[in-house]
Amino acid sequence: MIEIENLRKSFGPLEVLKGINLTVANGEVVTIIGGSGSGKSTLLTCINGLEPINAGSIKIDGVEVHSKSTNINKLRQNVGIVFQQWNAFPHLTVLENVMLAPRKVLGMAKQQAEEIATKHLIHVGLGDKIGVYPSRLSGGQQQRMAIARALAMQPKYMLFDEVTSALDPQLVGEVLDTLKMLATEGMTMICVTHEMAFARDVSNRVAFFHQGVVAEIGSPDQIFGSPQNPETQKFLSGVR
């Protein structure tokens, strides 16, 4: 379970998150929608402990993410994150990209890590790209590699930060299908997305972010069917 309480985060004088409250139960898929600058992506980097926070708390399975006594590297093994920019390791082949963390962090034997990495690469449709370097892949393929890389750690939670925003249109569907498959497999997921159809399809709950707060949260039917907050209405009429 991910519990976020009254989370505040500033970059210098700019307060990006102004008191976020959000609880994500195990097996739940929560999508976050909202305009740019509403703090969606910042929230994900805070959950993973990549960004320090200013106030409030984030607990994952009861463990405080930003507490000094927390082993953040240990915690991150359970929380995978995929970024809008896929950030491939350019000096490693696709297989090595995916194997790296299982080998180094989990201390897996080479053969076992190779098996797991291969499994996940086939899963995301990159079975034929195992030996090549990321520079030979399209953006879409690199993004799927990044998903496989995060999955290879067998995390309990997955955070997706606008993973389809930088993709070729014909690859968006394929990546979203991968996410849907994960959702049906019971993965707990938080997805920041601009794909409204996807959000409607896959989410248990949809949260609308506006100016650093959760302006409205509810079932997809409620948010997309009959939004209560005027800002939600405005945003949704804009993207449709």
Binding site: R76, W86, N87, P90, H91, L100
Partner: protein, 217 residues
Amino acid sequence: MFETALTFNDLLFLAKGAGMTLAVTAVSVAAGTVMGVVFGVIRAQFGPYWSAPLTFLLDIFRSVPLLIQLVLANAFQAIAKFGWDPFTTSCVVLSLYTAAYCTEIVRGGIDAVPVTTRRAARSLGLTWGQDMRCIVAPLATRVSLPAWIGLTLGVMKDSALVLWLGLTELLKSSQILVTRLQEPLFILLICGAIYFLISFPIARFGGYLERRWSPDD
């Protein structure tokens, strides 16, 4: 058409000098690079403010002419009764000199690794050390290699200055022969050719590594 008093033994004498040049260079570049990597990581990690004392110290070694450093260090070790022979003194000074330049090369290489790439590594649970070893080191090495090869070649040629401490390296050997045989142009030509023979493989090896490590291979 061309007569010379240079004998085979004289060539052996030059080769011995070249051996000394190589020895001083190898020790200094090795030690200087190790120190440079350590200092470079410190500079990249702690930022300009906390590493200011280190930066200042290294700036001294980068700014003061090497010849002055050698002479001062030699005088200092004599006064302090370290009892260093000229070879040791030369290597200590050249190592620090190399380290001062290498630090900047390493820092530049580390800074060239995108923050987002390192962030992706950390997000997978890699520790700072694992990130440094598995991601930053290989990527930074590629970026730094051309500059480091240049530094190595530079140090090899600058090592000629250690003749002032009484080491008979390649240039000193040539001078001795010039004094004896009075054929300065010919001997310096050979001396230059030997420097080239040492440098060329290093430069080519660098080019080879660069091609091999190019991320597109």
